[in-house]
Symmetry: C2
Subunit: 305 residues, 2 copies
């Protein structure tokens, strides 16, 4: 019944869904689970097998991927009733691809180790497009030898795979990445709003940033794709960004590093949360700045005020 | 004595020096001036002519480029004793390439216009390397027809030339660019310091940012070139960055746009100024963050504390 190559996959959301699909199409037998069973439908249609619980996944697979919203869900998946830890087989490898809190990751890794298994943290960057196309960047924390064992699997999901450090380092690196991403998006939004009010077309301002020292992923990708178009559908919610910025703030506190820019970014996103924008895309934080500035960056026209 | 193609060039510093050199090598007769005459030496050796004052430049050229530290120097160049305005010929074109305050630029443009001449603001991005290689981005504010007339000259200096809007819009856009550049540098520095204290090699963290959503000019260029190497020689001083961030803050106030990230970036740079780092390179602000975090990002070793 069980093929040694079988992969257990838990979390079939905007990222996990397309990632699981890629593994299936690469020929890996898949046992899948999600808190919302309907999320599994497209994968089951392609031949994946359903498992009723995390425990059922760990009974049927020794390589298990988890990618869920946060450490809260990861902890529940592992330690809850019918959780992974209740049935985890010795020698299993858990690839924890959630953007998690590194302190929680280290704690959970110790529980996994106590069962004779191994946890690697392996969060990703590259968004829904990267998940679909297998071009993610993957930041791995934990035993390097184990990473070598699972590299063929990760190679189906990502174009760049980095060993970052001990367990938890991958998750720390992901938070570090996300604070850079958030701050660049916010400063670009503020600055393009200023430019627009100063009479510059916002799309032109973004064009110029793209070839100047102010360039970032915000000017190169998020503005053209999700903001200037008014689509706001990068596939990553404001509540998740707030969770990550808070995780980064905790890490900065733990490591004793002052973080002025990170704090400003977090407070900006918290304002969006306070405005009831939790479920909106993280790029939609620009709407808040548009409102403050009384401009519309989409299309470039100043709103009549 | 005067060739119609003669260009007056005032300001032969880290940017202006190599830019003037390119024009000279492209065959333009050059009349040059700088507050420090010794800065002209290499150009005079290559055939440029020296002018004793801005007024002397405007007597001998009808196309005049200015690129000096700030609007303060630009105002003095124009309105001071032996200033450009005292001798400016009707029909002259003044290309003001300094990173100036757009409000001052508009005021000076009106004085130039009153003399029957035209000012275009045309600040640049791309650093000393871009100045040397002629790959600058140039952001032009002012009459589009005049831009077309001088485009061959600007084409020797920059690879991308953008008409941004009316006079002052180029300078506004440059400030908008610089706040994006400063905020990305600072958040990357903070975040890489956190990563380093969390046990991640800083060079590895920068490698990962380069291929992830946290990427920016800071991870792609400034960290590898000027920071991880410990060179801190991008050619743009902290006091100039503070000047630009203050100019941006003024513009944000004038246009009524709240600027949380811009303010945090300005305050960070002001701390560097308070530490006596005015003349150090703007990338050396990282030293301040290294000190706070008790890490060294160059070479990646944690300092013993």
């Amino acid at each position: 019944m069980m093929d040694a190559r079988t992969i257990g996959f838990i979390g079939l959301g905007q990222m996990g869904g397309p990632m699981a699909g890629r593994l299936l199409r690469a020929g890996y037998p898949l046992v899948v689970h999600d808190a919302r069973p309907e999320a599994a439908k497209p994968l089951l249609d392609q031949g994946a097998n359903w498992a009723e619980s995390p425990a059922a996944v760990a009974r049927r697979a020794t390589t298990i991927i988890t990618i869920v919203p946060s450490s809260i869900e990861v902890r529940a998946l592992l330690t809850g009733t019918e959780g992974l830890l209740s049935t985890l087989q010795p020698g299993s490898v858990l690839l924890e691809m959630t953007t998690s809190d590194p302190a929680v990751t280290r704690e959970l890794a110790a529980l996994v180790e106590a069962r004779g298994a191994v946890l690697l943290d392996a969060p990703v960057s590259g968004g829904v497009k990267g998940a679909r196309e297998g071009t993610l960047s993957i930041m791995v924390g934990g035993a390097e030898a184990v990473l070598e064992d699972v590299r063929p699997i990760l190679g189906r999901l990502g174009a760049k795979i980095f060993h970052v450090g001990p367990v938890g380092a991958g998750h720390a690196m992901k938070l570090v990445n996300n604070v850079c991403s958030a701050a660049a998006l916010l400063v670009t939004a503020e600055a393009v709003a200023v430019a627009t009010r100063a009479g510059i077309d916002p799309a032109r301002a973004v064009d110029i940033l793209q070839v100047s020292s102010g360039r970032s992923n915000a000017s190169d990708w998020k503005f053209p794709q999700f903001i200037l178009t008014g689509r706001f559908d990068a596939g990553f919610a404001i509540r998740l960004m707030v969770k990550d910025l808070d995780g980064y703030a905790r890490l900065a506190r733990e490591t004793g590093v002052p973080s002025l820019l990170g704090t400003a970014a977090a407070e900006c996103y918290r304002m969006a949360l306070a405005r009831g924008m939790a479920e909106e895309d993280h790029t939609a934080v620009v709407r808040l700045i548009e409102e403050w500035a009384r401009v519309q960056l989409r299309g470039g026209k100043e709103k009549s005020v």
